[in-house]
Amino acid sequence: MLGNMTQLRVDGLTALQLAELRDIITSTAGDYITTVDSPRLTGGRVGEPTLLSAVIMLAPSVISAIALWLAKDKKKRTKNLKYTKIGPNGSSESFEMEESSYDEGESTASALQAFLNRKLGDDRQAAG
């Protein structure tokens, strides 16, 4: 079932951003973050902390939670994140979360939700 769902991959998260995103998704939808990618340096190398990637199974309630998470970020700390929609057949489509792409005169949360529904909602499984 889960394998047939559309997913959203978010790249460039700090551990704190991921923790906040996880909290908000878990409290409104359930545990929909399936994978967290945190590559280690190989060969004994040491270096700066890596940024994280999360893969989120999509459902209507999850999209609402992501919209809420983005709307709560008044300081635009999430502006450099990268988003990729991964279809059930493995197809992928990257998109930006520019303010201009969702500012339609609605409240930020509604505008974000409408934008995400357009970007992610068309072929998702109605699992939420």
């Binding site: 460039g12 551990a15 704190l16 906040e20 060969g43 004994g44 040491v46 700066e48």
Partner: protein, 539 residues
């Protein structure tokens, strides 16, 4: 400014090769011509990575590099490699939280203090990145300006608060190391006021662990098995940490350490090591280097190890491929980087340079007091410019490094891959690693919780293990950021008023900042000390 959209910076402890992500050599050389007043996009990463390099550029770093190279050479020759590998990996693993803690402390906390001492990290940062402004009697003023700009960057705050949300795991050295070093700083500064100077503290702590001849002896000594070797290394670090947190004669030791460091040779008794162990450690290093010299092949590999140990002292800051094009008017070559119209340098025409292609390298001297720009064409190396203090011997070494680097690196990578793919080595280390991980918890749990009460430290540690400081703060992201922000501002001020002002630059939530400044201990762990209008973050 720090930049989130980039590859990852790192240092290889064996070759001490440093990669600072997004360091643009051509852009940097252009800036260098006039040193205008601009912030540095890569300074935060540079502070972190150079501190790693500085740690590994030590007797302990050299011993571990030698063990790893010797293990690789032994594997290459179908000899038994796992003993060397286990020793190197054990010491590297238990020291990794210290290495990361020091690097994060350099990135988030270090700043010129009241003592006359300046760390290598700050000295080289000054040489490489400080703008050409007259600081008058305060020679480090340009550096202070640069560091303040870095610590006011909201992206640095996001990076620091990200570390606070990591669960405290032994296999993740960042929070473990940073909390250990921060806790040590607060406790050691309480025992020795000179260590309120964060840059002096960074230097002393780095020296305490990496200039320690006792660790070299432990890593290279004879044991019945690799498991015994691992135990000896762990026990040595345990005893060193115990001595450190006893704070016995700390003030007098720090004073002696400064005096010896200023003279160029650390008095190892000032870091609690035995004076006679320095010679023993050096002799053991020399013996380890030639231990396998029993045929021609081994001697060739031994020569490669010696060459790498020497060349790893030089730091390549950045390099790029260049083309040499005849100047249209005068007898000189223009040195051109692909994608840029203007030549980065010109050089006098010379038959040895007439191949059309070469490599441009910016390298730092072993102590970071000198920088040189080198053009390498085939085996010919030309100095294009230099600044600071780069002595003749080190210059020769730098020239040799840029010529040898392509072959030396490819050899090293081939050896390294073969070693890491060895099933025997992986199996033996897999067994020992479990014991090392268990021991690390015993070593670091008391350090991380030095600022907790005696009755509560275990409870605090268990809470940190689950969800880091973010968990301790009840999953309050804004409070977590506010706490991290106080620490960044503390770099140059403990005034609550300044914290509020800089908090605006850092985009910190005002309400969260007020709550953070009045935080009570969580699970018995003190996170902030507030006294009237003074506020100090302890994590």
């Amino acid at each position: 400014m720090t930049d989130k959209r980039r590859a990852r910076s790192f240092v290889d402890p064996t070759t001490n090769m440093m990669v600072v992500a997004n360091f643009q050599l051509v852009e940097y050389l252009e800036w260098l011509r006039g040193r205008p007043v601009t912030g540095s996009r890569v300074l935060a990463n540079f502070l972190h990575e150079w501190t790693h390099r500085w740690c590994f550029s030590s007797i302990v770093g050299s011993a571990l590099a030698l063990l790893r190279m010797r293990a690789a050479c032994r594997e290459y020759q179908d000899r038994s490699a796992f003993d060397d590998y286990v020793r190197c990996m054990t010491a590297s693993a238990i020291l990794e939280p210290i290495a990361e803690g020091l690097a994060l402390f350099a990135e988030f906390d270090t700043y010129p203090g009241e003592s006359r001492w300046t760390s290598q990290t700050l000295m080289v940062s000054m040489l490489l990145f400080a703008p050409a402004v007259d600081g008058g009697s305060k020679s480090l003023l340009p550096l202070e300006w640069l560091l303040q700009a870095v610590r006011r960057d909201p992206l640095l705050l996001e990076r620091k608060s990200g570390i606070y949300a990591l669960p405290l795991k032994m296999e993740n050295p960042y929070l473990l190391g940073y909390l250990s070093v921060r806790s040590l700083w607060y406790q050691m500064a309480a025992a020795c006021t000179e260590l309120n100077d964060r840059d002096l503290f960074l230097s002393y702590l780095r020296s305490y662990f990496y200039d320690d001849p006792g660790m070299v002896i432990c890593a290279l000594d004879s044991y019945p098995s690799e498991v015994h070797a691992a135990e000896a290394i762990i026990n040595h670090l345990r005893s060193r940490i115990r001595d450190l947190v006893s704070f016995d004669n700390l003030k007098e030791k720090v004073q002696r350490w400064i005096e010896s460091a200023e003279n160029g040779t650390i008095d190892v008794t000032s870091i609690g090591a035995k004076a006679e162990n320095s010679d023993v450690a050096l002799r053991m290093l020399e013996a380890a280097l030639v231990a396998d010299h029993d045929d021609e092949n081994s001697m060739t590999l031994g020569a490669w190890m010696l060459m790498t140990l020497q060349e790893r002292q030089i730091c390549v800051i950045g390099s790029t491929a260049v083309q040499l094009k005849p100047h249209p008017a005068i007898n000189r070559f223009n040195i051109v980087v692909e994608g840029f119209n203007e030549p980065v340098y010109t050089v006098v025409e010379d038959p040895t340079l007439n191949t059309g292609e070469g490599e441009l390298t910016v390298a730092a001297s072993p102590d970071g007091r000198g920088i040189v720009v080198l053009l390498c064409v085939g085996k010919s190396v030309t100095i294009l410019s230099s600044f600071g203090d780069f002595n003749e011997e080190d210059l020769k070494l730098a020239k040799r490094l840029v010529v040898n680097r392509p072959i030396s690196m490819s050899l090293y990578n081939e050896f390294r891959e073969q070693l890491e793919n060895s099933s025997v080595v992986a199996t033996v280390w897999g067994f020992v690693e479990k014991q090392v991980t268990r021991a690390m918890k015993d070593l670091f749990a008391p350090l991380v919780t030095l600022n907790a009460t005696e009755a509560d430290w275990l409870k605090a540690f268990e809470a940190l293990e689950k969800e880091g400081i973010f968990g301790l703060l009840g999953h309050d992201g804004e409070l977590t950021r506010a706490l991290a922000a106080i620490g960044l501002v503390n770099t140059f001020s403990t005034s609550a008023g300044i914290v509020r002002v800089v908090g605006k630059f850092l985009d910190v939530d005002e309400d969260a900042l007020e709550r953070a400044m009045d935080l009570l201990p969580c699970c018995g762990l003190s996170l902030v000390v507030r006294k009237d209008e003074s506020v100090v973050a302890l994590v």
